[in-house]
């Protein structure tokens, strides 16, 4: 071996050794993530800043498709091999497996002051009233959107804040008739959207004993409206009637200008901002009704798992990501609503769709306790698909509304009983 080769070998070995020694000093945290839009890129740039200021921590983001996220995490959690942190929304599934942050974050009071108690409580087990296990990274709420151009073309003024759902749909039907639009109303095929639609009409799902009651006048009224709108062809047939199996969004109908009124949620603001240029659209407050005007909350939480070997480093990262400035930047750049109460009150200077987002922010304080309880119940992932699928069966005439109510009630009772037996 000649001298040059020997020198090269020496330099390479030295560099490898230096890298190895340096790697020994760096703690690697793994964060499981999913993307709806550009938030993965935004997160990465925020993490780069964090890593620059915390050279002893490196954060590796593992991005999974949303459809596989919770199943994959469940297997990892049960095997004791969970990531250090994750972005999730099926929070009740992992209750009891989260890392308690109260004693390791810089200021536990910061979390209880700045994030909704109902969201923080959703991460706790039944006998725990104070634990902090994560925070809402991003918030969402169900809201209606209107195609303002169609309403203007029809010469019909959008209704005021006291209008009910039936009044909105009736007015939208007039808009559709006047403008030759094929449908009057679209609502995503999901129990989550139906909760919002029915809660304002008096449905009352959670009873005094903490169990679930399906058969209420409000539920029947909302269900019957959905059935009637489908029968009359006011709603696109392939959303609720034509589909089986899973969630179906009616987004394309709204983007293509085929419906004047669409009930979806604030997560669509970025999509509409980027994809609608042919007409003006507006986000309107949730209609009123017999009960309080409310949307259904949603969004995702950043949680940490108890199996982590680096709780101190996890706490530093959580402190950073939950800080007011980082939440503000994350929200601005993703066009998401923050889950941070101070920012909700203060408002955020969004670079686009500022008006829609500011209306959306005013919807968050209106969210009812029952809406929070439904969304963050351990049984939300039982009730949601059961309502969705049974109502679809009613709409296509397979079963009656009475039969659907009995079946939904039986399924939720069975799930509650099984959970009680397992506990």
């Amino acid at each position: 071996m000649n001298k040059k080769a020997l020198a090269g070998l020496f330099i390479a070995s030295s560099l490898a050794l230096a890298g190895f020694v340096q790697a020994q000093d760096v703690t690697e945290l793994r964060l499981t993530w999913y993307n709806d839009g550009n938030e993965g890129e935004v997160l990465r740039s925020l993490l780069d800043t964090f890593e620059a200021n915390n050279p002893d921590i490196r954060v590796v983001v593992d991005t999974l498709p949303y459809a596989d996220l919770h199943t994959t995490l469940q297997a990892q959690v049960e095997a004791g091999d969970a990531p250090d942190l994750a972005r999730i929304n099926d929070v009740a599934r992992f209750a009891g497996n989260y890392l308690p942050l109260n004693d390791i974050v810089a200021d536990a009071d910061y979390y209880t002051t700045n994030f909704p108690e109902a969201v923080l409580a959703s991460l706790r087990t039944a006998d725990d009233t104070t634990g902090i296990y994560g925070f809402p990274l991003q918030f969402s709420v169900t809201v209606p959107f209107i195609n303002r151009t169609l309403w203007d073309q029809a010469g019909i003024e959008p209704l005021g804040p006291d209008a009910t759902w039936p009044e909105w749909v009736a007015a939208s039907e007039e808009v559709a008739a006047a403008t030759g639009t094929p449908y009057a109303f679209a609502i995503d095929r999901t129990g989550h959207r139906f909760w919002g639609f029915s809660l304002v009409q008096g449905a009352d799902y959670i009873n005094e004993e903490g169990g679930f009651t399906i058969d209420t006048p409000g539920f029947r009224a909302a269900a019957q409206e959905l059935i009637d709108y489908n029968a009359a062809g006011l709603i696109p047939a392939d959303v609720w009637a034509g589909s089986g199996g899973g969630y179906v969004a009616a987004t394309e109908y709204f983007i293509n200008g085929q419906v004047p009124l669409y009930y979806a949620g604030t997560w669509q603001i970025g999509n509409f901002t980027n994809n609608i240029s042919a007409f003006d659209w507006e986000l309107i407050p949730n209609p009123a009704g017999e009960a309080q005007s409310t949307g259904i909350p949603g969004g995702s939480l950043l949680v940490s798992f108890a199996s982590t070997e680096h709780p101190a480093e996890v706490a530093r990262l959580v402190d950073y990501l939950s800080s007011t400035e980082v939440v503000r930047e994350f929200s601005e750049r993703t066009l998401f609503l923050p889950g941070h109460l101070g920012l909700i009150e203060e408002g955020i200077d969004y670079p686009s769709s500022a008006e829609a987002l500011s209306v959306a922010l005013t919807e968050i304080p209106k969210i009812s306790e029952e809406a929070y309880a439904l969304q963050y119940s351990p049984f939300t992932f039982v009730l949601n698909p059961e309502i969705r699928d049974r109502l679809s069966q009613v709409i296509v005439g397979e079963i009656s509304l009475d039969e659907a109510i009995v079946l939904i009630q039986e399924r939720i009772d069975q799930a509650v009983a099984e959970a009680a037996a397992a506990a």
């Binding site: 009637a241 034509g242 589909s243 089986g244 698909p385 296509v396 079946l407 099984e418 397992a422």
Partner: protein, 345 residues
């Protein structure tokens, strides 16, 4: 006398860059094989040539054991356990509770009276689908194979046309047909002048189109099998029958069909098994809707496991489905064997 060493050397020097690169790549690829050969030769010397076969099937057995056998055994265990946990050690033993829930009905003609009404709806839909689809595939594949076996113009082209859908992913097939048939789809744009025809939003239409699309996507494969069967029938049998005055129908009925029977049995077994397992295409195409009109058993299993987290119910339904398929297969194997024993094949 030719000096070969000189010829060989000069030839190597005259080789182009690409020839030398190719020779280099081949020698790199051959090197691991040569090393492997050396290892296997030593192994053979140690264990003997008789046992070497086991080493060669070991990789495939490992894959089979990991991805087929182990999940099957796990499914069997899950079928008798309850709870929402994914890991077997965290699941509680419930005996035949899941099977009992799946099979309990007050009135078997009314799914609503069953504890798991969607299982029975899925079962009824699957039976309906299997009966119509298997019959349609066998008949259409047979007719197509007979037609493509004739000396027709552009025969190769037509064979490709019928086989082409088999090459497409079921998801792609489903999406293409969905775009054609949905209310705002191509067909409705061409046909409907007002309200769209509810191709996918009416229960009967939806089932009709699921079957049509499934048959279209699959029949090329079975046509190919039957075509191979037809071409294996000795031509002299037809010549002899023609000389005896048999007409075309008679030759088909008395020569083609009997000699094609073993091939048709293979097609029957394959179509039956595949149609009972119908899922991917139908799930993307209709999602099981409208309502539950095209929801089949495998979709029930999928949703029970991954939407509802009722892994025990899903595994129990899988066991029942597997049992049904096993019975079908045994019956058909017996029929096949008896026909072979009777010399019909």
């Amino acid at each position: 006398m030719t000096d070969f060493s000189t010829v060989s050397e000069s030839t190597f020097e005259e080789r182009s860059f690409w020839d030398r690169l190719g020779a280099f790549i081949i020698s790199v690829l051959v090197l691991p094989l040569a090393l492997l050969d050396g290892l296997l030769s030593r192994l053979q010397a140690r264990i003997g040539i008789q046992r070497m076969g086991y080493w060669f099937i070991l990789p495939n057995l490992l894959i089979f054991g990991t991805f087929i056998l182990l999940p099957m055994l796990l499914n069997f265990y899950y079928g008798f356990t309850g709870g929402t946990s994914i890991l077997p050690q965290n699941r509680t033993w419930v005996g035949t509770e899941n099977l009992s829930a799946l099979l309990t009905c007050e009135d078997y003609t009314r799914p609503l009276t069953c504890t798991e009404d969607l299982f029975w709806r899925g079962a009824a839909n699957t039976v309906r689908f299997v009966v119509i689809e298997v019959t349609a595939i066998i008949l259409l594949s047979l007719v197509t194979a007979v037609a493509l076996n004739r000396r027709i113009r552009a025969r190769g082209f037509f064979r490709s046309v019928f086989f082409y859908p088999v090459l497409l992913s079921p998801v792609v097939v489903a999406l293409i047909w969905k775009w054609i048939l949905q209310p705002q789809g191509v067909l409705n744009s061409l046909l409907a002048d007002g309200r769209p025809i509810p191709f996918l939003t009416n229960a009967d239409w939806a089932m009709f189109w699921v079957i049509v699309v499934h048959v279209w996507a699959q029949m090329g494969f079975y046509t190919l099998i039957l075509l191979a069967g037809l071409q294996a029938i000795p031509k002299d049998l037809y010549e002899a029958a023609s000389m005896d005055g048999a007409n075309e129908w008679s030759r088909f009925w008395h020569i083609t069909l009997p000699l094609l029977r073993p091939t048709m049995l293979v097609v029957l077994v394959l179509t039956l098994i595949r149609s009972v397992q119908v899922f991917d295409l139908a799930f993307v195409f209709t999602g099981g809707g409208p309502g539950t009109a095209t929801q089949f058993l495998v979709q029930f299993i999928f949703q029970s496991a991954f939407d509802d987290r009722r892994f025990g119910i899903a595994a129990g339904a899988s066991l029942l489905l597997a049992g049904t398929l096993l019975v079908f297969t045994i019956i058909q194997l017996r029929v096949n064997r008896s026909s072979l024993d009777n010399g019909e094949g």
